[in-house]
């Protein structure tokens, strides 16, 4: 029964991944094609239409075939997961093909595009991102404090994994590592996600030249929406981490049978909120506010328009740009500027900390 449920979930994820990739090219900023800036004039040509059609047909066919295979092996979750893995790898390959096809249409690197700054402040980003950071950190510290306080009273064997029903299905000897790993990871993720909320609320504005401020208004609306989305996910994840920590401890103490269905439902809610929000963001705003701008002829400027600073259309590397968060060229939301040393240091620190804590706990 559990295996069948896993296969259905994996199949649903495949369908959602396919649907998302089907509409991504339609919501990109006008002038961009699969991570390449080809200019606003060329974006509706026959060549670009051919690339988009090939993309859509391949994504659709791949999704249908993968889901069919997964349902064929309904009782074999490893096969379903392997199919999803192959499918996602195929999507990466398809993106590379589309990117290289679009690259042939790229605007020449010289002269570099102009840069535009609008002499208007954003207005306050509001308290939400900072409140979210504080809330996430407080939740995680509460979880850590609870686990640490309960440690002396825990039995020799404690549950370390829970099944879909919420009941424990794996136990390990009690140790600081096994008891505190999850809450410590919760603290790290709280700082990480909270910081992302703040950084997204101050993400770089990718403006157009001579459009009377239309791109600024679209950008700000999009950024506010993405900020609310990231903050919403952070609130849910923070509460989830806290509840899972508390109920893991209570299960070990014998005061709970496992993790309540309501907590598991919270995980489901988070997935639904995330996917639903991504769809709403895409359909309502378009990437970077593209749908609010419309099919404008005003050219993009600076980093987003400069193909030299984009690797495979996905990674922005511009050491001259002080920005931390910049708009994605393909996809929804923002990505980091890997040319900014603070970003690289922060990412490396986050990864090392997470790996280090996990290794210490395991050893």
């Amino acid at each position: 029964m559990e295996g069948t449920a896993v296969v259905w979930i994996v199949a649903l994820e495949t369908v959602l991944a396919g649907a998302l990739h089907l509409f991504l090219p339609r919501i990109a900023r006008h002038g961009l094609l699969f991570g390449v800036y080809i200019g606003e004039e060329r974006v509706q040509s026959e060549v670009t239409s051919r690339i988009r059609r090939a993309w859509s047909r391949t994504v659709l066919a791949g999704t249908v075939v993968t889901v069919a295979l997964q349902l064929l092996f309904l009782r074999r979750p490893p096969v379903a997961i392997a199919c999803l893995g192959v499918y996602l790898t195929g999507l990466v390959g398809l993106y590379l093909w589309a990117y290289l096809s679009a690259k042939k249409l790229a605007l020449p690197a010289s002269p570099p595009p102009p840069a535009v700054a609008i002499l208007e402040e954003d207005g306050s980003a509001g308290l939400l991102p900072h409140l979210t950071l504080v809330f996430a950190v407080v939740c995680s510290l509460l979880g850590l404090a609870y686990a640490a306080a309960a440690y002396p009273s825990l039995p020799a064997q404690i549950p370390t994994h829970f099944g879909f029903s919420g009941a424990p299905d794996a136990w390990n000897p009690k140790s600081p590592g096994t008891v505190l790993l999850l809450p410590i990871l919760g603290v790290i993720q709280a700082f990480g996600l909270g910081l992302v909320c703040v950084l997204v609320s101050h993400a770089k504005r990718a403006l157009r030249l001579g459009d009377g401020g239309a791109s600024l208004r679209a950008q700000l609306a999009f950024r506010r929406a993405v900020t609310r989305f990231v903050c919403g996910v952070t609130w849910i994840v923070s509460v989830m981490f806290l509840l899972v920590t508390v109920f893991s401890i209570r299960t070990a103490q014998g005061t709970s049978a496992g993790i309540p269905i309501a907590v598991l439902a919270l995980a489901g809610l988070m997935i639904l909120v995330s996917l639903g929000s991504i769809v709403v963001l895409g359909l309502r705003y378009g990437q970077g506010g593209a749908r609010l701008e419309g099919p404008t002829k005003a050219p993009l400027t600076d980093g987003l328009a400069d193909n030299r600073y984009w690797v495979l259309g996905m990674f922005y590397v511009n050491p001259s740009d002080p920005s931390v968060m910049v708009e994605r060229r393909f996809g929804i939301g923002y990505t980091v500027n890997l040319g900014n040393w603070k970003v690289v240091a922060g990412l490396a620190g986050f990864l090392l900390l997470t790996l280090g804590v996990t290794l210490l706990a395991v050893l």
Binding site: P112, A115, V116, A117, E120, G303, N318, P322
Partner: protein, 130 residues
């Protein structure tokens, strides 16, 4: 909506382009006295340039009397002086004389120089005081 447009390929350095455009906007009245300018970080992020580049432009304009910069309020457009001392005007007149001398040396006749001067004053919006 007032915008700064920077050409990375131009010979003029970026801070110079920023300062020039702000100076012209302030002198023409497009940016009114008291108007707050975005933070250095915001402008630097929009333009994709180093913070120091924008800070240098702001400082230059502060030295020239176009901006007032305070810790608390940030950068604001300064009100034009009510009257200027000879000490303040003399260097500016020298700059004007230099520019005129260079134009003359480039072969611009005096009548054309006068028309050029009138056109530039008109572009500044003919802002006059007292």
């Amino acid at each position: 909506m007032q915008a700064l447009v920077i050409d990375p390929a131009a010979h003029e350095p970026v801070y110079g382009q920023i300062a020039r455009q702000l100076r012209e906007a302030i002198a023409s009245g497009t940016l009114a006295p008291g108007r707050a300018l975005p933070a250095v970080r915001t402008v630097a992020g929009d333009l994709g340039v180093n913070l120091n580049t924008v800070a240098r432009a702001y400082r230059q304009l502060q030295d020239e009397g176009f901006l007032e910069i305070t810790e608390r309020a940030g950068a604001r457009v300064a009100a034009p002086s009510e009257g200027s001392s000879r000490e303040r005007l003399d260097p500016l007149r020298r700059d004007l004389r230099t520019a005129l001398a260079r134009l003359r040396q480039a072969g611009v006749p005096v009548p054309d120089l006068k028309k050029m001067l009138e056109a530039e004053l008109a572009a500044l919006g003919g802002r006059r005081r007292g």
